[in-house]
């Protein structure tokens, strides 16, 4: 197990390096023209451009440029030339908001999807199953910016049941934090609930046909024990890995739409706003951090998978 974990961690570092090189190339090398001009924003002045060129080493060779870029991103020495704000500080400010959204939504979609998927599988072919299938398809088909806007308008603005967008710190007002996040959580979770409950349903149906489930029944276990210990446990393994990946993807940029619709001011919305202002440094930093986060979470998922399914560890 130690060897397995070590190998995964080494792989993670290699992938992160590759990601950083790619991001650097995409932002600073591949686009035509002077990177300093792009950095300087919408209305660049000659002095600004020259200063940026000096600062980032754009007149040096490509390796120095890479080194300077990474140094700026990771030492907190990155500044937006549009807002004049420190980029890393802005990101850190957005992280609790994005995490609140992603963690809550992930828990919600997992819990509901397990309930729906299991129920659907146990009623396979009957009315409840068909109803949930159609519901899931509808859920998968609704884009978050649409359902989010509808919820915000009807439940938030018209009926006033929920706050109409915005975010409250958990530490200042836990209840306000919760009520502000209910709609964003739901909007973000709907798509995943549809998808996950479908996957779980088919996993459960496959697992039910496994020989070891028959063995479990032959032991004289109750139907509940068979379902929980053998069927659900084994059906959840692929879902858990999917969950980790999707959670990483939501944190690494998937929440951009939800954050913007509900005005949560998280990292995603920061990235969206920066893109709108052609403000390159924040976009570069968010891209890099997002990618790193996804890679790190993939590694965690791999390791957890090794614990859940002992067969993975031997290779």
């Amino acid at each position: 197990m130690t060897r397995f974990v070590t190998r995964r961690l080494v792989q993670m570092v290699v992938v992160m390096f590759a990601v950083s090189v790619l991001t650097f190339l995409i932002f600073n090398v591949i686009p035509n023209g002077d990177p300093a001009v792009r950095m300087a924003g919408k209305v660049p002045t000659e002095t600004n451009i020259e200063a940026i060129r000096q600062e980032w080493g754009f007149d040096e060779n490509i390796f120095v440029q890479y080194g300077t870029t990474m140094k700026k991103v990771f030492t907190g020495d990155l500044r937006s030339y549009f807002t004049q704000l420190d980029v890393d500080e802005e990101i850190v400010k957005g992280i609790p908001r994005t995490f609140s959204l992603a963690i809550g939504a992930a828990l919600l979609w997992m819990a509901v999807a397990v309930a729906f998927g299991l129920y659907s599988a146990m009623r396979a072919g009957r009315f409840a199953d068909r109803f949930l299938t159609i519901t899931a398809l509808v859920g998968i088909s609704m884009p978050v910016f649409w359902i989010g806007a509808l919820m915000n308008y009807y439940l938030g603005f018209k009926l006033g049941w929920f706050p109409n967008g915005g975010y409250v710190e958990f530490t200042t007002d836990p209840v306000g934090w919760f009520t502000h996040l209910i709609l964003p959580w739901t909007a973000l979770a709907i798509l995943f609930i549809g998808f996950y409950s479908r996957v779980l349903r088919s996993n459960v149906l496959d697992t039910l046909n496994e020989d070891y489930v028959r063995t479990a029944r032959a032991k004289g276990l109750s139907e509940r024990q068979v379902m929980v210990r053998h069927v659900l446990r084994n059906s959840l393994i692929p879902i858990v890995s999917l969950w980790g990946l999707d959670f990483g993807a939501v944190l690494g940029g998937g929440a951009i739409l939800t954050e913007s619709v509900f005005d949560l001011q998280g990292v995603g919305q920061y990235a969206a706003d920066s893109i709108g202002q052609l403000d390159v440094p924040p976009v570069l930093a968010v891209t890099l951090f997002g990618a790193f986060f996804i890679v790190a979470l993939n590694t965690v998922v791999d390791i957890v998978y090794g614990f859940l399914d002992p067969r993975i560890r031997v290779q």
């Binding site: 020989d211 063995t215 032959a218 032991k219 210990r229 053998h230 859940l308 002992p310 067969r311």
Partner: protein
Amino acid sequence: MSGGEPILDVRNLRVSFSTEEGDVQAVDGVSFQLRPGEVLAVVGESGSGKSVTAMTLMGLTRSPNARFEGTAQFRDTELVNATDDELRQIRGAQIAMIFQDPMTSLNPVQRVGDQIMEQITAHGEIPEAQARTQAVEMLDRVGIPRAAERARSYPHEFSGGMRQRAMIAMAVSCEPDVLIADEPTTALDVTIQAQILQQIAQLREDAGVGVILVTHDLGVVADVADRIAVMYAGQIVERGTVDEIFYDPQHPYTWGLLGSITRVDRDRPGRLPAIGGVPPSLANPPEGCRFRPRCPHAFEPCTQVPDLEQRGASGSGHVDRCFLSAQDKPRLREVDGQVGLTTGSPSA
């Protein structure tokens, strides 16, 4: 050995499944008895209904598509019509089962010891530590070396033979009265087969367990079984003691099975003898004797279904479903000096 009142009495068991091709009569009027300490072998080819019969006794074939008739009396409980809860209490505790494929019959993500413990704790309030000791003991008893350590292994760390031993350890951990072994050696290589069969025979000797051994391999049963029931297309076509079946087989299907055993003590045949044709569709079984389309000896009476009754001279427990006269059979079943089924074209 065997003796006393039957512990399991199956009468006229019928199981059918509704499928897209219509109703499939998988088991069609099967009756047999099992006494304590007796090994009954149920032999037949794939699709003969032997596994369905075995699993039905455990209630493992129950589904909305299945229909059951007949009775299976086990002690005070009638298994076919028992409630799920009654069955659950019998399963594992009084009737245990070993399955064909030890590679897939253990849960891959649970430690072997835990799976045995689960069996032990399913039928009684036993503290975990005690259940664990018991599980290790069971593994030791079935010949797993360093049992305490191996109990912490996962199934993929076991060889096929070890997994089947673990299955046996699990099955007998609650000291059942009846053990149903569904092709327990089919997935194992020959040397391991012998060890596993030895293990099953030992259970019968030591604990007086009644064993139903389901197999397609007559060679496997010769050593361990007391009685044999030969199944074909959902019916028992012949039933008797091992000696009766091997030395005085009455049904042409049995002749075919016996003829297709390769034996090291005889000359190697140029071709392996086989029974011509394929087993009938159970959704649409042939009229009359089920074996008629493949039987080279079929004649007019075979369009009727023969009853399962004593026809030969060897004993009252030896019954078969064949209209051929007992006097003619010794001549008809002789092929090249041994028992076999002539390969002449079937006439019917």
